[in-house]
Amino acid sequence: MTYEISINGKNYRLELNQSAGQWSCRLNGREIEVDAVLARPNVLSLRIGNKAYEVKCERVASDVHIWVGSQRFAPEVRDPRSLRSRSHAADDHGPRKLTAPMPGKVVRILLAQGVEVEAGAGVVVVEAMKMQNEVKSPKKGTIQKILVSEGAAVSAGDVLAIVE
């Protein structure tokens, strides 16, 4: 099985094969000795050479994060049977979504549909645990659409508005 995996914009080519619990692994063509045990769901006890790592896989809504010890990574894996690929890529062209960073309640809409917006300007205010959180525009542009109304309950990852 071969994967195209990118982390922080850097791309890796990973060839991975498993038979009888043994793994063979090539990373960007380089042979790597690996050995893994799934200690419990989403927790891998990984050995690379003789170094040991506890790796956690965190799946929340559309996000998949890989934790190596205390460091968090957001890999994008490309392959048919892969973890869901994520690609709200870093380019500023075309429409961009504003998503709720946490579940909560929409308490205020700051900018109306169609108006101009600066990058970093607040668009929607979401409240949870008695704290208010301004969801800001990721880019300069115009508000193409507001998809929520004040008082609405939203979950993490829900699209609140689209900026074009």
Partner: protein
């Protein structure tokens, strides 16, 4: 001893009190709101009663509902925990009238401490040191000007009924006094329905150090050493430790004796905390008294070897303190981290949701007081405190080492937490050398995260790449139950109560 105690609270403190009850052979009664049916304190209690909707005002803050449960369950005492009704004199009085023992001070003692200015007058008579300033609300801008001149700028304006920084203004020069006074007053009016504002000399970069006191109902009052609580964000404590690195035995004795005088001046009983501001010359000034058990009480328990909740219960039952001041010995060092459901990448805003994976630290010198469990959905309706991780060591360095180790074992998946923040704090040179004050944390957070070792970083990245491939290869087998529940938040609940979306809808209807 009491037969049955009702715990009028939720989260980790409710669990902590339930444990104390069970350790003493006392039955524990839990109360819960609609979104807390699946909460840990309900699982651990002997009896559990629903008390209404998520909104605290309709459940945990509803005195009548809680007294009804006390009556129905036959509880002979109520422990209020912290927050909610714990410092509500009306509630303490209502308990007394209902013939249920309130585990805490009397309503009168609470009221004496409730208003900062009134407390201050009583304390001044008892010879308690105060930050220079007015002991009562300002009549006029002129008076404010006058006092400010006497004590010298910078000065601090504070709301008499205040707390949590509301109605507070720092004024550096006479020119800014007028506008600051007006805005402080209106903010206090809005926040507390009471615009009374007083003025104090501003202490720059103070430390916040508090003293734990215990008083029985037979006139015996002792102090149990101090807690250093200078690490705060938005006036919210984040890390506390005991003892304070700057307090020596003599200063401890002097602060302790003042704290005892404060308690006695208010006719205080049960557990309480006297807060002090400490300036760079180690002068300490009385700030206020908290008439409840503190979130951070475990650090005091670890260095004194005592159990404050057991003692609260015994005192409430009318027992005498089982020890004298001289028997109280401070040993070792303890540090507490408050684990919050907050997103470090998003300015530490709350992050409720379902906990899909939970790996727990344990081992030498580690105490974990928690209200969460794997599969539980953190409701969006309450304070985001999930758990407290407390490290004890022979000395401060060992406590830091153990806590750092335990934090690296701690993993909470599915929601965001502030665990990474503690790693930064515990590794910070100024924290290591105990150069801390109430401004430390805001300053640290302004610094960009110290450059990580790029080589280790590259290595970790490759590990992440390989692991990502392995998880992809293993597919759902590797995800186990978690993947299912991540896509269907309700698989962990038979009823919909703790399915947060339902809760959110209810919330939205209000």
């Amino acid at each position: 001893m009491f037969k049955k105690i009702l715990i009028a609270n939720r989260g980790e403190i409710a669990v902590r009190v339930i444990r104390a009850c069970h350790e003493m052979g006392i039955a524990a009664v839990a109360v819960y709101s609609d979104v807390d049916r699946a909460a840990l304190h309900v699982r651990k209690a002997d009896e559990a009663y629903p008390i209404g909707p998520a909104a605290a005002s309709e459940s945990y803050l509803n005195i009548q509902k809680i007294l009804d449960v006390a009556a129905r369950s036959g509880a002979d005492a109520i422990h209020p925990g912290y927050g909610f009704l714990s410092e509500n004199a009306k509630f303490a009085r209502a308990c007394a009238e209902a013939g249920v023992k309130f585990i805490g001070p009397t309503a009168a003692a609470m009221e004496a401490m409730g208003s900062k200015t009134r407390a201050r007058q009583a304390m001044e008579r008892a010879g308690v040191p105060f930050v220079p300033g007015t002991s009562r609300g300002l009549e006029s801008f002129e008076q404010a000007q006058q006092v400010a001149e006497q004590i010298g700028y910078p000065v601090m304006l504070k709301a008499a009924a205040g707390g949590g920084g509301k109605g507070m203004r720092l004024v550096h020069a006479a020119g800014d006094l007028k506008s600051a006074l007006d805005s402080a007053r209106s903010e206090a009016e809005r926040a507390f329905g009471d615009g009374e504002v007083y003025i104090e000399k501003a202490i720059i970069n103070p430390r916040h150090i508090e003293v734990q006191v215990l008083a029985d109902e037979h006139g015996n009052t002792v102090y149990l050493g101090e807690r250093e609580c200078s690490l705060q964000r938005r006036h919210q404590k984040v890390v506390e430790e005991a003892p304070s690195p700057i307090v020596d035995p003599d200063m401890r004795r002097r602060m302790g004796e003042v704290a005892v005088r404060v308690a006695q001046a208010a006719g205080y009983t049960n557990a309480g905390t006297v807060e002090f501001l400490v300036d760079q010359q180690k002068n300490f000034y009385f700030l206020e008294m908290n008439t409840r058990l503190q979130v951070e009480h475990p650090v005091t328990e670890l260095i004194t070897g005592l159990d404050l909740v057991h003692l609260q219960i015994r005192i409430a039952k009318g027992e005498r303190l089982p020890f004298a001041q001289d028997d109280v010995k401070v040993r070792g060092h303890a540090i507490e981290c408050r684990i919050y459901a907050e997103d470090p990448d998003n300015n530490y805003f709350p992050s409720p949701g379902k906990i899909t994976l939970l790996l727990l630290p344990s081992g030498p010198g580690i105490r974990r007081d928690s209200g969460m469990y794997e599969g539980w959905t953190v409701p969006m309706d309450y304070d985001p405190l999930l758990a407290k991780l407390i490290g004890y060591g022979t000395d401060r360095d060992q406590a830091i080492g153990r806590l750092t180790r335990a934090l690296s074992e701690y993993f909470v998946g599915g929601i965001k937490t502030n665990i990474s923040l503690f790693r930064r704090i515990l590794n910070h040179p100024d924290f290591r050398s105990a150069k801390i004050d109430t401004g430390f944390l805001d300053r640290m957070l302004k610094q960009t995260n110290e450059q990580p070792d790029s080589q280790a970083d590259a290595e970790a990245t490759e590990v992440a790449v390989i692991a990502a491939g392995m998880f992809a290869t293993l597919g759902s087998a590797a995800a186990g139950v978690d993947e299912r529940s991540a896509t269907d938040g309700s698989t962990n609940t038979v009823e919909s109560a703790s399915n947060w979306k339902a809760a959110a809808r209810r919330e939205a209807l209000r």
